[in-house]
């Protein structure tokens, strides 16, 4: 079998991530795919600390940190600066958490996407403000425990559908990805690299301390998320949706939930409600794909 994942490591060891951090495995793969001719922009998020303490940096490519709500536009500004200086080849990648994407950063992201600024925007979604100590975000799923949605009153609202929002901006490329499917992950970043305009990649990013799960289960939870259709893998290229992994038999969402302490308080009726929501979303996705094929 041909190895499709580049062997060269751009991200080095010595970073400050928690054991089993999904966002760090994701950065490793993303940089392998994009290569060294890349500039990374990081707003306030876990990765503001993961990269290391001054004067150290683990990334191996230039990185600029920026305020919480400004990842997308800072990336656009860098791209404009590079073009002004005659550099049209370097990729600029904004790398933000769900707080910096779904919540405080959505205005700048929407602005960049509407202008179709030539950037790759990645949201590593660990479904809460994990860096500040596990507070709910609009990416936190229904029923989940966080420190601001305690077990007696877990999150009542469903997760915001960020991909639909980005899709409504009619940008050239949108993809979902997870480190449990590294070939698919790398292929998507390589494809994004070849496209001009705003490219949005939504990464499923397990957080062992925040999700109250075992650190060795990051890949396992990610794989079950795809197989249970909690987090389907798909791409939207020029508006056309294609599902990348279609589980022949969808795994029960219980298998996904039981590995994570943040869901341990859920009652049977809650789980049924979650399963129903997943089924509905999956059917919608299939319908949308079919419509695009037709």
């Amino acid at each position: 079998m041909r190895l499709t994942i580049p062997e060269e490591e751009v991200l080095s060891s010595g970073h400050l991530a928690c054991p089993g951090c999904g966002a760090t495995l994701a950065m490793r793969l993303a940089l392998k795919a994009l290569g060294r001719d890349t500039i990374v922009v990081i707003p306030a998020c876990c990765w503001s600390t993961i990269d290391g303490v001054f004067p150290n940096s683990a990334l191996g490519v230039p990185v600029m940190h920026i305020a919480f709500e400004a990842a997308a536009i800072a990336a656009s500004g860098i791209k404009a600066g590079l073009i002004a200086k005659g550099n049209t080849h370097t990729q600029v990648m904004a790398w933000a958490g769900d707080g910096g994407t779904f919540d405080i950063g959505i205005q700048a992201l929407s602005g960049a996407a509407e202008r179709n600024d030539d950037i790759i925007y990645v949201c590593y979604d660990n479904e809460a403000y994990q860096n500040t100590g596990i507070q709910r975000s609009s990416a936190t799923p229904y029923g989940a425990w966080t420190t601001t949605t305690p077990r007696k009153h877990p999150k009542q609202e469903p997760k915001k559908n960020i991909v639909d929002i980005m899709s409504a901006h009619r940008i050239p490329y949108i993809a979902t990805a997870t480190i449990a499917y590294p070939e698919d992950f790398v292929r998507k970043f390589k494809k994004a690299r070849e496209i001009k305009g705003t490219r949005f990649i939504h990464i499923f990013s397990p957080c062992p301390p925040g999700w109250k799960m075992k650190e060795q289960d990051t890949v396992k939870v990610s794989r079950i998320a795809v197989k249970s259709c909690v987090f389907p893998l798909f791409e939207i290229e020029d508006g056309k949706l294609k599902i990348n992994i279609k589980p022949s038999r969808r795994q029960d969402v219980r298998d996904y939930l039981k590995l994570q302490g943040r869901f341990s308080h859920l009652k049977e009726e809650d789980i049924k409600r979650i399963q129903k929501e997943i089924d509905k979303n999956w059917q919608n996705l299939l319908k949308r794909e079919e419509a695009h094929e037709g």
């Binding site: 060294r36 001719d37 890349t38 500039i39 922009v41 503001s48 600390t49 990269d51 290391g52 303490v53 001054f54 004067p55 150290n56 940096s57 990334l59 191996g60 490519v61 230039p62 990185v63 600029m64 940190h65 920026i66 305020a67 709500e69 400004a70 536009i73 800072a74 990336a75 656009s76 500004g77 860098i78 791209k79 404009a80 600066g81 590079l82 073009i83 002004a84 200086k85 370097t90 205005q107 700048a108 929407s110 602005g111 509407e114 202008r115 600024d117």
Partner: protein, 382 residues
Amino acid sequence: MKKLLIGNHAVSYGAMLSRAEVIAAYPITPQTQVVEELAELCASGKLKAQFIKVESEHSAMSACIGAAQAGARAFTATSSQGLALMHEVLHWAANARLPIVMANINRAMAPGWNIWADHIDSLAQRDTGWMQFYAETNQEVLDTIIIAYKVCERVLLPAMINLDAFFLSHTAQSVEIPEQDMVDEFLPPYNPEIKLDPDDPRAFGGLLPPKYYMEMRCKLHSAHRNALKIIEEEEKNFFKIFKRKYGLVDEFYTKDAQIIIVTSSTITSTAREFVMRERKKGRKLGLLKVRVFRPFPFEKIRGALKNCEKLVVIDRNISYGNAGIFATEIKSALYGFRNVPVFGFVAGLGGRDVQLEDIEGMVDFARKKNFSKDEIWWGLKK
């Protein structure tokens, strides 16, 4: 070439002649013509810049930060609420030591909505690490943008050029527009050695623990202190080419003046007129215009105020619970140097006109009194 220019267009021409490479701006009254003119200049090819039409002022400044960190010359313009929205990233630009130049059209803060001249917007950003210039004329606006880039790129600090809403922004004045080749001679292209560069990967703005943080801030402060000297140097260089100079402060009949009026921005012109009238009557009145507010030119101010008996400071702003900000800062410059009565007048807030009669009234007030503990709100309706 001389041309009739409103202040906002003087800003646009200043940015164009400085060959700004990335512009990111968001419209706000009374700044809009700056953006419109720059869009025209870019569209016509007169200005070869990347123009990002952002969705907020916070994004305008963040785009400038990204562009400057990538090594490009960045420009933006804003006013009032827009400047306030930028506050977080104003700190970022200065702490990151990025030589961004911005024009701010001084306007009041809401509520109630007020689009007219007031200095509280920029003075509220006093401690963000930006250099602050306050311009009296449209010529000064245009020239200061060019000078500011030269200074910023030498000291690695951002600069804000402030001009009064409507009194300058929308008022046409005769402005000498410098020739491009002369500006190029004064202001070479910006090519910083340290920037975002895949061939030389560095991390900018990451975790800075207590062990390092304080040293970084002290360096920024030192850069401000050093900038006083650099501004004077570059003003000399500017004068050699263009025969115009402005100074950190502008002294007018200060040498033998018994009372000195201290102003900034357009109130200065009215005060200048009043001083000339008084001088014709043989009254020893002087004027000190504070043009550079950050870094604060302590020595120049002390030098100008070394002989006077009383001071009339006119503030188009108020620091609630304290006093007018210029008056407070002037007092700090006098501390341990001279004990001169400072009459701090708060006047012209929210665009209220400050006329010759007002300044005459303030000076009369100061003549009659020996001391005023508090600031005086001038022209308040009963």
